[in-house]
C-alpha cells in the first residue's frame, strides 16, 4: 500500500458528496434528506481538513465552524419537521407542497 495522499481524501470526500446529493434528491423521507445534507457537510469538512495539510490550520478551524453550523441546521430542520408533522402527519418531501402554484 502506498502512502495516503491528498487524492485519497478528495476521492472519499467526493464519494460522500455524491452519496449526499443523491440522497437529498431521491429520498422522500425528509429525515433522510437531513441526514444526507449532513453527509454533504461532512464531505466539505473532509476537504477542508485535507487541504489544511497544504495550506495551514485555517481549514481545520473552518471545519469546526461547519460542524457547529451542521448541528444548528439539524436542530432547526428537525424542529421545523416536528412542527410540520404536527400539522400534516407526514414527513414525506413530495407531500410538502403548500407553496405550489
Amino acid at each position: 500500500m502506498g502512502e495516503i495522499t491528498i487524492l485519497h481524501y478528495l476521492v472519499v470526500a467526493a464519494a460522500l458528496f455524491a452519496i449526499g446529493v443523491v440522497g437529498v434528491l431521491t429520498r422522500r423521507n425528509v429525515i433522510i434528506v437531513l441526514m444526507s445534507i449532513e453527509l454533504i457537510l461532512n464531505a466539505v469538512n473532509l476537504n477542508l481538513v485535507a487541504f489544511s495539510r497544504l495550506y495551514g490550520l485555517h481549514g481545520q478551524v473552518f471545519s469546526i465552524f461547519v460542524i457547529t453550523d451542521a448541528a444548528a441546521e439539524a436542530a432547526v430542520g428537525l424542529g421545523i419537521l416536528i412542527a410540520f408533522f404536527r400539522n400534516k402527519e407526514t414527513v414525506n418531501a413530495d407531500e410538502i407542497d403548500l407553496l405550489k402554484f
Binding site: 431521491t26 413530495d94 407553496l99
Partner: protein, 713 residues
C-alpha cells in the same frame, strides 16, 4: 325627648301604609285596609302632638332655636363634584340633606295636617265604603300624607320640592280617581299641567337661591338674609322670591294659575277636603312664610303677592256667587280664602296669614266633608238647584255645616272671624296704609263670602225641596264614621280662633307669639334698616308698634267686617231662604250679562283655551301660543331640519363621489398595476410546481452546469 327624636317616623308611617297598599292592597279586606291606613295616620298624629309638645319645651330651653336634624346627605357628598362659584366669587357646594326642621311654623302645619288628615281619613271609611278601588284610594291618601309631611318637615328647599312634587302627584292621582270618567281624567291632567308651570318657577327660584346664598337649607338662607339688611331691594332676591311665588301661585291656586282647583272637584269629596282645601293648597303659603326672610328683602315682590292675593280673593268670590255645583262653590271659596292668606303675607303679616291657614283648615275641611255628606245623602247629586229643605232630614250635617258657614263668613266668636279680621286689620294698617286700597277689595270679598256661603246653606237646607223623587227615597243621615269627623271639625271651627284672640279683644294672640321666632327677627332687622335709610321706603313688614296706637280704628274695622258678614247673610237670606222650584238668581234678575260672565267664570278657561291651547283655528292651523309653537315646530322641521338635512345630503353626495373616484380611479390604478404584474408573471409561476426535491435537482444541475462551464471553458 322620645317624640322629638322619632319625628322622622311621622312622614314614614304613611309611606309604609302606602307601600303596603301598593304591594298587598288588592288582597286585603276593606276592614284591613281601613285599619292599616287610618292606623298609621293615628300614630303619626299622636307622634306629631308629642313632638310639638316636646318641641315647645326644647325651644324654650334653647333661646327659641328651631329643632333641626340632618340624617344624611342626599345630593352632593362633600366630594367636590357639585361645587360651583356663588355670588361674589364665593365657593359653594350644592348640597341637600334629608333632614327635619321643626320650628313653630312647621309645628302649626304638622298639627293641622295630621289632625285634619286623620279626621278626613276616618270620614273616608264611611264615604268611600261603597266605592270600588278602596285600597287604591287609601294608598293614595297615605302617599299624600307622606308627601305633605315631607314638604312640611324638610329642612331645605330641595327636600321641600320633593314633597311639593309628591303632593302634586297624589293630587293628580286622586283627582283622576274615577279615571273611567273623561271629565275626571281631564281635570287631573289640567291640575298636573298647570301645577307644572308653577313648579318650573319654584325650581328656578331654588336654583337662584342656591346660587346666590350657596345653600338651600332654610336656616342657613334665613341667617344669611337676616345678616344682610342692606340687601333690601336686591334684584337677585327679588327675582328669587318672584320665582318662588310663581310656584306658590301654581300650588295654591292664585291668579293666573287658579284654574285647576275648581276642576279638581272631580275627585272624591274627602280628597277635595284634604288636598284641595285644607292642606296641599296651603303649601304655597307655607313656602312663602318659610321664605319670609327673603320676601321682606323684596318689597316689590311683596307688593305683587299682596295684589295678586287680593285680586284672587275677589275674583274667585265673584265667580263663587253664582255657581250651582255645591263643591264648586266651595272650591271658589277656597281660592278666595287662599287669596286672603297671600294678601296677609304680602302686607308682611305672615303670622296672620298662617293663622288664617290654620282656621281655614278646620272650617273648609268641615264644609267640604259636610258637602260630601249631603252628596252622600242624595245619592251623588251635586247640583244645588236639585236640593233644598234638607235640615230636618240630615240634622247633624246641617248643624255642622252651619257652624262652618258661620265661621267662614266671619261671624264673631268663630274661628274665621278672628283670622279674617286680623288680615283685614293688617291690610289696613300695614306700613302706614300703603296697602289700604287692597283693604276695600278684601272687605267686599268678606261680604261676598258671607253671601255665597249662606246661599249654599239656604239652597241646600232651606226652602222648598227640589230633590228628584228617586233620590228623595234614599235620603239618610251619614254613618257615624262620617258625622264624628264633622262634629270634631265643627268644634275646631268654633274654638281654633281663640288661640289667636287679638289684644284688642282682651286676648294675648298666643298664636302670633308662638310664631314670633320665625317672623319677628326679620321684621326687627328691617325696622332697623328702615330707620337707618329712607323711612319712606315701603317695606314688606308690619310695624306692631304702630298697631298699638290704633285700637279705636281696629274696633271700627272689626265692626265693619261684622256688618259685612251679617249683611251678606241677610242678603242671602232674602234671596234664597224661601227658594221655590223655579227660584231666580238675584244677580241674573238684576243684570243678565253680569250673571252670564260670572256663571262662565269670566271666560278664563275659554281665554286660556284660545290663547294657550289654541282652540281657535284658521283653516287647519291652530292659533294662540300652541299654534305659535306648532308654527315654530314647522319652521324647525322644514327650515332648520332642512338645512341640516341638506348639509347631510350634500356631504353624503360628495362622499359618494369621492367613493367612486377612490374605488375606480385610485384603486383601479393600484389593482391594474397588480393585474399587469400577475399577467406577465404567469409563465414563471408555472415553474412553481411544489416538489421540493425537483427544486434541489434543478439547483444541482445548474451548479453542475456552471462548474462544467468554468472547468471546460
Amino acid at each position: 325627648m322620645f317624640f322629638l327624636d322619632h319625628i322622622w317616623m311621622v312622614p314614614l308611617l304613611p309611606a309604609l301604609g302606602a307601600a303596603l297598599m301598593f304591594f298587598f292592597g288588592r288582597s286585603l279586606s276593606k276592614r284591613a285596609v281601613s285599619v292599616i291606613c287610618v292606623g298609621v295616620v293615628v300614630v303619626a298624629f299622636l307622634l306629631s302632638v308629642g313632638a310639638v309638645w316636646q318641641f315647645t319645651h326644647y325651644t324654650a330651653a334653647n333661646h327659641h332655636a328651631p329643632y333641626e336634624k340632618s340624617y344624611y346627605t342626599w345630593l352632593g357628598s362633600g366630594t367636590g363634584h357639585l361645587t360651583y362659584t356663588g355670588s361674589g366669587e364665593r365657593p359653594a357646594e350644592f348640597r341637600a340633606n334629608v333632614g327635619i326642621l321643626l320650628d313653630p311654623l312647621s309645628s302649626v302645619w304638622l298639627l293641622f295636617v295630621t289632625g285634619v288628615g286623620l279626621l278626613i281619613h276616618i270620614y273616608s271609611i264611611g264615604y268611600m265604603g261603597h266605592e270600588g278601588g278602596y285600597y287604591r284610594f287609601f294608598g293614595y291618601m297615605n302617599l299624600f300624607m307622606f308627601s305633605m309631611l315631607t314638604l312640611i318637615l324638610g329642612n331645605n328647599y330641595v327636600l321641600m320640592f320633593v314633597g311639593w312634587e309628591g303632593v302634586g302627584l297624589c293630587s293628580y292621582l286622586l283627582i283622576g280617581f274615577y279615571f273611567q270618567r273623561k271629565s275626571a281624567s281631564d281635570a287631573a291632567n289640567k291640575a298636573f299641567l298647570v301645577n307644572r308651570i308653577g313648579d318650573a318657577g319654584f325650581i328656578l327660584g331654588i336654583f337662584t337661591i342656591a346660587w346666590y346664598f350657596g345653600s338651600v337649607q332654610f336656616t342657613t338662607v334665613t341667617e344669611i338674609a337676616r345678616a344682610h339688611p342692606a340687601w333690601l331691594n336686591n334684584p337677585v332676591i327679588t327675582l328669587a322670591t318672584l320665582l318662588l311665588f310663581v310656584g306658590a301661585c301654581g300650588k295654591s291656586a292664585q291668579i293666573p294659575l287658579y284654574v285647576w282647583l275648581p276642576d279638581a272637584m272631580e275627585g272624591p269629596t274627602p280628597v277635595s277636603a284634604l288636598i284641595h282645601a285644607a292642606t296641599m293648597v296651603t303649601a304655597g303659603v307655607y313656602m312663602v312664610a318659610r321664605s319670609n326672610a327673603l320676601f321682606v328683602l323684596a318689597p316689590r315682590t311683596m307688593m305683587v303677592v299682596a295684589v295678586i292675593g287680593a285680586s284672587t280673593a275677589i275674583v274667585a268670590a265673584l265667580i263663587g256667587l253664582v255657581q250651582n255645583d255645591i263643591k264648586r262653590v266651595l272650591a271658589y271659596s277656597t281660592v278666595s280664602q287662599l287669596g286672603y292668606m297671600f294678601l296677609a303675607c304680602g302686607v308682611g303679616a305672615f303670622a296672620a296669614g298662617v293663622f288664617h291657614v290654620f282656621t281655614h283648615a278646620f272650617f273648609k275641611a268641615l264644609l267640604f266633608l259636610g258637602a260630601g255628606s249631603v252628596i252622600h245623602a242624595l245619592s251623588g247629586e251635586q247640583d244645588m238647584r236639585n236640593m233644598g229643605d234638607l235640615r230636618k232630614k240630615i240634622p247633624t250635617t246641617f248643624w255642622t255645616m252651619m257652624v262652618g258657614a258661620l265661621a267662614i263668613a266671619g261671624v264673631p266668636g268663630l274661628a274665621g272671624f278672628f283670622s279674617k279680621d286680623e288680615i283685614l286689620w293688617q291690610t289696613w294698617s300695614a306700613q302706614h296704609g300703603t296697602y289700604r286700597f287692597l283693604w276695600y277689595l278684601a272687605f267686599i270679598t268678606a261680604l261676598m263670602t258671607a253671601f255665597y256661603m249662606f246661599r249654599l246653606i239656604y239652597l241646600t237646607f232651606y226652602g222648598e225641596s227640589r230633590v228628584s223623587p228617586e233620590a228623595e227615597h234614599h235620603i239618610h243621615e251619614s254613618p257615624r264614621s262620617m258625622t264624628l269627623p264633622l262634629i270634631l271639625l265643627a268644634l275646631g271651627a268654633i274654638f281654633a280662633g281663640y288661640l289667636g284672640l287679638p289684644r284688642s279683644l282682651g286676648g294675648t294672640n298666643r298664636f302670633e307669639h308662638f310664631l314670633a321666632p320665625v317672623f319677628e327677627p326679620g321684621a326687627e332687622a328691617l325696622r332697623a334698616a328702615e330707620t337707618a335709610s329712607d323711612p319712606g321706603v315701603p317695606v314688606g313688614t308690619k310695624a306692631p308698634g304702630a298697631a298699638e296706637g290704633h285700637e279705636s280704628a281696629e274696633y271700627v274695622l272689626m265692626g265693619a267686617s261684622v256688618l259685612a258678614a251679617l249683611g251678606g247673610i241677610f242678603l242671602a237670606w232674602k234671596s234664597y231662604a224661601k227658594a221655590q222650584k223655579d227660584y231666580r238668581e238675584p244677580i241674573a234678575a238684576a243684570s243678565p250679562p253680569l250673571y252670564d260672565v260670572l256663571y262662565n267664570k269670566f271666560f278664563v278657561d275659554e281665554f286660556y283655551n284660545t290663547v294657550f291651547t289654541g282652540s281657535l283655528k284658521l283653516g287647519d292651523k291652530r292659533l294662540g301660543v300652541m299654534g305659535a309653537s306648532e308654527f315654530l315646530g314647522d319652521v324647525d322641521r322644514t327650515i332648520i331640519d332642512g338645512g341640516v338635512n341638506g348639509a347631510g345630503w350634500l356631504t353624503r353626495f360628495s362622499g359618494r363621489m369621492s367613493n367612486v373616484w377612490d374605488k375606480w380611479i385610485i384603486d383601479g390604478l393600484v389593482n391594474g398595476l397588480a393585474w399587469v404584474t400577475s399577467f406577465f408573471s404567469y409563465v414563471t409561476r408555472l415553474l412553481q410546481w411544489g416538489q421540493l426535491q425537483w427544486y434541489a435537482l434543478v439547483m444541482v444541475v445548474g451548479l453542475a452546469g456552471f462548474v462544467a462551464y468554468y472547468v471546460w471553458r
